[in-house]
Each structure stands twice: as structure tokens, then as C-alpha cells.
Point group: C2
Chain length 238, copies 2
């Protein structure tokens, strides 16, 4: 779990970075300027931790580019991915749920770019900026819903259905239209998918092979393209 090397406050962040994102979309230029001037911008390599589970929640983040996996590690060292977070969302908002320590590790799934602020600014943002608190709580709400869904899924569905669901969620969140299908637009391994669906990389590999034979997906190393989303939906709803 190697930390990123350099912290850099870019000379001048453009206001358009934030102005269209929900937690900030109600603010005027001057407010956004202020917020940006307080922010630290940092680039992260792929596969590094933005913050670690259990560490003091000293900063909160806005993911500007890339994808982040929210991961928990078990006593025996296995990783379980709780969520995928796409660009444009807040991250590490422990303060919004009254936590002083990060409850999970945030790991970049691709090279990523994020702004961050000291957690001490959280309360002033919430107080000063209209809609900021509300939108943050909505973010929490969405994640709660997603976790809820995953619990139900894992409790009631078979591996094949869970993997189908995970793929569908991924192409919904982060899908990119290509020639003959929708591709997950970041590198994702069989291992990653297995950690998302509580199975093994072997089983995922077998499933993808089978689906490929049926023309539902196409995959190569770290790339998965869904050709027939509808077939997956059908599969997932058995």
C-alpha cells in the first residue's frame, strides 16, 4: 500500500471543474473560487490507497477523474470491494456519518485525480454553502442503498446472477459505448470482479468464457465489453 509521492497545489484550478457537480452546483463563481483556493489537488497512480481504513479522517475528497474502489480487508488478508466510486463524487466523507476514522480503504482502480480539503472545513462548507450538506447526505444515502442491494443479492442470488448484476452495475456507472457493445472503461481483472461478487477468480473466468461463447460479452485482459446487456438482465433475474 504505497502512498503517492508528490502533493501539489496546481497553480490555478479551473472553476468549471466543480461548478457542474451536485454538491457545488448551486454555488456562484466566487464561492467556488474560494473552495478551490482551499483545495489540494493530487494525482494518484493506479492501485494506491487514497486513505486507509482506520486512519484518522483528516481530509475529505472530490474525485475529479478516475475510479476508486472502496475496499475492506479481512483479518486473513482477503479483500472485499464494497463499492465502486466514479468521478464526480465525494469520497471520505466520514464526517457526514459522525465518524472520526475512515471506515474503509479507498483504492484507486485507475490513475485518478482528486481534490481534497481538511476535514475541519467540512462544517463550514455545510454551514456556508447551500445544498452542500444535503447533497453529501444524498451521496451517503445512495451508498447505503447500494450496500443494501448487495446484501440482498449475496443473500439470495447465485454466483452467476451476482456476477451478471455486478457487470450491469459497472456498465451503468462507468460504461462507455463502443462499436458493438458497452465497455467498462477502466481496467478490471477477474480477481477484481470476484472480490465484488464474493466468489473466486476461477469462477468468474469460467462464467465469462461461457458468456463469451454465447456472444453476450467479449473480454480480454483487464477489459470487459458487454455486447448483449439484455441477456445479462435476463440472467440476473432468474
Amino acid at each position: 500500500m504505497n502512498k503517492p509521492v508528490a502533493t501539489s497545489t496546481l497553480p490555478r484550478l479551473d472553476e468549471s471543474l466543480l461548478s457542474h457537480l451536485p454538491p457545488f452546483s448551486k454555488l456562484d463563481k466566487r464561492q467556488i473560487r474560494t473552495i478551490l483556493d482551499q483545495a489540494t489537488s493530487r494525482r494518484y497512480d493506479k492501485g494506491v490507497a487514497i486513505f486507509d481504513e482506520g486512519a484518522p479522517a483528516e481530509r475529505f475528497y472530490m474525485l475529479l477523474d478516475g475510479y476508486v474502489r472502496v475496499v475492506r480487508v479481512t483479518a486473513t488478508g482477503e479483500q472485499v470491494t464494497a463499492l465502486h466510486i466514479p468521478a464526480g463524487q465525494l469520497l471520505g466523507i466520514a464526517r457526514a456519518i459522525g465518524k472520526e476514522f475512515y471506515p474503509a480503504t479507498a483504492m484507486t482502480a485507475t490513475e485518478s485525480l482528486a481534490l481534497s480539503w481538511p476535514m475541519t472545513l467540512w462544517d463550514s462548507f455545510a454551514a456556508d454553502y447551500d445544498g452542500f450538506a444535503t447533497e453529501s447526505y444524498k451521496t451517503v444515502g445512495n451508498r447505503v442503498s447500494e450496500m443494501n442491494n448487495r446484501i440482498v443479492e449475496m443473500a439470495t442470488q447465485q454466483v452467476e446472477q451476482r456476477v451478471a448484476n455486478a457487470l450491469l452495475r459497472l456498465i451503468n456507472q462507468t460504461g462507455r459505448k463502443v462499436a458493438d457493445g458497452i465497455e467498462i472503461d477502466f481496467p478490471i481483472t477477474r480477481q477484481d470482479l470476484s472480490e465484488l461478487t464474493a466468489t473466486t477468480l476461477h469462477t468468474v473466468s469460467r462464467l465469462l468464457s461461457a458468456w463469451e461463447k454465447q456472444g453476450m460479452v467479449q473480454s480480454k485482459r483487464k477489459r470487459i465489453k458487454v455486447c448483449d446487456p439484455h441477456a445479462l438482465v435476463v440472467l440476473s433475474q432468474i
Copy 2:
């Protein structure tokens, strides 16, 4: 899913009902009086829904007595219990996570008593009463943590360990010391336990039988007593 019959505002609610509960503990007598005067008190039979998944989130609740299961029902009618909520906690606080509809069904596990307020009061409570909002968010945070734990558990542990964990959680939350062990102080069936741990009542029954033979638990109809919690801890951590 039969609804409770009678709504009754009791003649005079005692302030001590709320004064020691975290979301209200920082308030003075006059404030609590005001809050109580706005509250509706209602008794619920065992096994009824306090509110239903998907319904407009029109009220929020404080569970004064009893136990509530937070349940989601799948397309095929199976029930999955996401959480158990003991007395003394807020319930149905959809507003705290920016939701307009209840994300799950709250079902009483025992006869219960709850106060409730119209959701329109949520914002004024948050604005007027010191600590109310913060404590509510902490409640959300704790539930997020618990859900997270359940996801990890279901992803990595075997049935035996999950059931052991569920029992331990139940005796921690709602355990009552008795002669030679700790008893879960509300009626819980094998079926209930299986819905908590994503398995079948048969498997739960078999496990309890086996554990009883080893002297770790004692159980009768709807009652489970843990005699050797430590042994369960050991089991759950394999």
C-alpha cells in the same frame, strides 16, 4: 402485513423517556417537553410493519421499547434482514440520507412502542436542537458500519461462522444475563436467524443442535441462550 389498528397520543408522556437517549440527551426539560408534545405514541403488535419499503417517508420514529428488524423483500418473496434495531434508537430517518421513500421495511420482532413525528419536523429538530443532527448521523454511520461488516462477513465467511457472529451480535445488542449464560431476550426462530445469515432454517437448526451437544448454547422454541460466548468467538474467527 397487517397495520396496527389504533393511533393514540397518550395523555402525558414522561420526559424521562427521552432525556437519556443520545439524540436528545443534550436538551433541557422544556425542549424535551416540546418534542414530546409533538410526538405520536403508538404500540405495535409483534410482527407488524411500522413502515414499508418504498412508501413515502412521512414520519420518523424513536423506538422506546421492543425490537425491530429492518427487512428487505426480494422479487421472489424471500425476506432478508439487514439489521436489528434495539430500543433507544431512531428509526425511519430517511431524511438524514436524503431519501423521500423508506429504503426498507421496519418490522417489529416483539411487541414494541415507538414515538413518531412527521418528517416535516426533521429539519426544525436538526436546526433547533443541539446534537440532534449529529447524533442522527452517527446512527446512520453505525448502521453503515454494520452493513459493511455484514457484506464482508457474507463474502468471506462460511455459514457456521456467520451464524456464530449473528448470535454474538444479538447477545451483545439485546442479551440478558440469566442463570448459566446470556439469553437473547426476544423470541427468535431458526427462520429469523437464517434470514439474518443468508442460509436456511435447516442449516441453522443443525448448527444449534451441534452446538448444544458441545454445551455452547441451549435453545428451545424461539429462545436461544449462549452458555459459552468465548467458544462462539473462537468459532467465528476461524
